[in-house]
Amino acid sequence: METIIIDGLSFGLPLFIMAIGGIYSERSGIINLAIEGLQGFGAFFGSLSIILVGHFFDIPLQKLFYLALLLSMFGGMLFSTLHGLLCIKFKANQVISGVVINILSMALTIFLTTQINSIVFGAMSDKFRIGTSNRFTIEFLAKIPIVGAAFKNIYPFQVVILIIAVFAAYVLNKTRFGLRLRACGDNPHSVDAAGVEVSRIQYLAVMISGALSGLGGISFAYSISTNFSPAIYMGYGYLAIAALIFGNWKVLPTFGACLLFGFARSGGYYIAQLLKMPSTFSDLIMILPYVLTLLLLIFFSKANHPPRALGEIYDKGKR
């Protein structure tokens, strides 16, 4: 039971922060399917920089944990400007742009990883080893039965994610910027009439979404594999999108959806272990979050209300 909660949280929270990024972008009217690519590029950027810093300044990688988080956010943000440019400036189809960004990110990071590994480290490898992250336990809270497991073996990034998530939810729902952002997704003309540049807010929203995706990506790199490798493109970005659709583009229901995915995944592994299934069955357990997504979407998609101007390119002259 404890492992289900511990693993479920360490999977669900990175998913959640990526989904919040998606909410920011989509509430501003820009469809963001690029989350998958952005999280990969963010993780790539973060792990590459700490490996280079660690290599040239001889610092143990464990100490660079927070630097990695920060730079991953920066990397994700950097790459997301491309999505912003394509969607807002070049008026590309937003769905296609998102998929293009994903393909480009995957091709580019795999190419650069092997290239940099062979040039800088002289190794044939498509991985950056970034070391494991420390985990900690809050002793007095961990003693509470069942719920206490949530405070056991916490990755530091989980705390960072929670803080940022609360802050992001506050900004989105309670500040003037958040109001304008949401208005961009529902009725951009009203924002324009109020004297605010729509494209500027949309650029910011896409960049925020890139930064948060990058944070999610590096968290996956730390928690699942302790390295950056092409295996990071497991479709978790798409899972985050499913979570936010399921959560009706609102922060709190999305949080629930992400936790559900997390627990479904860890619970599946737990059951497989309990029944002593052979390892080939892990393939069947891997599909649990995806099947769950489909089933939930079947039940909840009808009641969903996406932002009204989602996917439309804002055109000042249009009525």
């Binding site: 399917l33 394509l86 400036k89 070049f90 008026k91 590309a92 189809n93 769905v95 296609i96 742009s97 998929v99 293009v100 393909i103 480009l104 995957m106 091709a107 580019l108 795999i110 190419f111 092997t114 290239q115 479709g235 798409y238 999108i241 499913a242 659709i245 080939t280 069955f281 393939d283 069947l284 891997m286 599909i287 995806y290 099947v291 997504t293 489909l294 979407l297 079947i298 998609s301 009808k302 969903n304």
Partner: protein, 380 residues
Amino acid sequence: MIRAKMNKAFLKIFGKEEWYLVTIPVFLILLSFIVAAIIIIFLGKNPFLAFYNLLQGSGLAPKPAYGGHKSMLTDFLSLLNYMTPMIFASLSVAIALKGGLFNIGVSGQMLFGGFFATILVGYSGLDWAIAKPLVLIVGIIGGAIIGGLIGLLKHKFNINEVVSSIMFNYIIQYVFSFFIHGYYIDPVSRQSKYISDASRLTLVNVQMFNLKMDLSIGFIIAIILAIAVKVFLDKSRLGFEIKAVGANHKGANYAGINVGRTRVLTMLISGAFAGLAGVTYYLGYFASIQPRVLPSMGFDAIAVALLGNLHSYGIIAASFIISIIDKGSTYMSSKAGVRQEIASVITALILLFSACSVYVQHKIQSKKDNLEYKARKEIK
């Protein structure tokens, strides 16, 4: 002054309105290759040599040496063999996009059709005259099932087709990986067992002119079907309905077209083409399935379809170009020492630029208008 002249020359080549369907993709491809060349120069390699190696690797330019029973022709036939599933997959993407649907699940549908064709026909030992058509039929049905299901989910439950097809991609990939690992694995190659030659859609090692060639049956079918798709979209009633729904589904609904039904049918046809791509890929170009891997071709096909302007002939041309990059990259990486992964970067760049094709067209047009305006002013 020089800039104005360059502008004029540029517009003379690319600015002819009636040729936009050709000139803009060519311009975008040129742009991608320029960017790729910069990357290759940055790596300290000669880009022209690398690009020439791409042509050599795909049988469009002679290699310095060939192995026994091999020549430029065999390389070229192998390119056609590789190109076949690409054409099918891109047609699949194009048909869906014409109907306003984005089928990103082509990879999964390919695997679905390919897997069932492999286990039902590939391992059956049937005679070739029955096996080969049966493979095609199983592929078509398999792909159409998944495609139609995605369309149905969109119609009945309002589920975004992008999300559902991605979920299907993962489910199909893992479930079939489980079955292949469990029942059909070849312990040496770590892939599924090879299918019988009778059921394969490519005739391998055909002896002719003292050469051993791979002849793709699927290629001929692909060309015929590409033309058929064009006729279907241009002339048939359903084709018109698909395009009408894609252009404006509210308008189509108002005109009395059953939007939901048309969408399901669009995805059904799109899925069938993806299934054909799957069988020509897994039971043609290859003869086995690698478990736990989705063919990246299903995603590259999006690039090809966009590059070909969703037009049948354009898609054949675009498949040809992208196949050269894919197929030639192995030879390029061994000869020029440029990593093979650069091929997917080039493809991704082409994709990136073709996503902006509308903007490029708009830019070229406005440049042209500007120039004409100036010229008229000078005359006055």
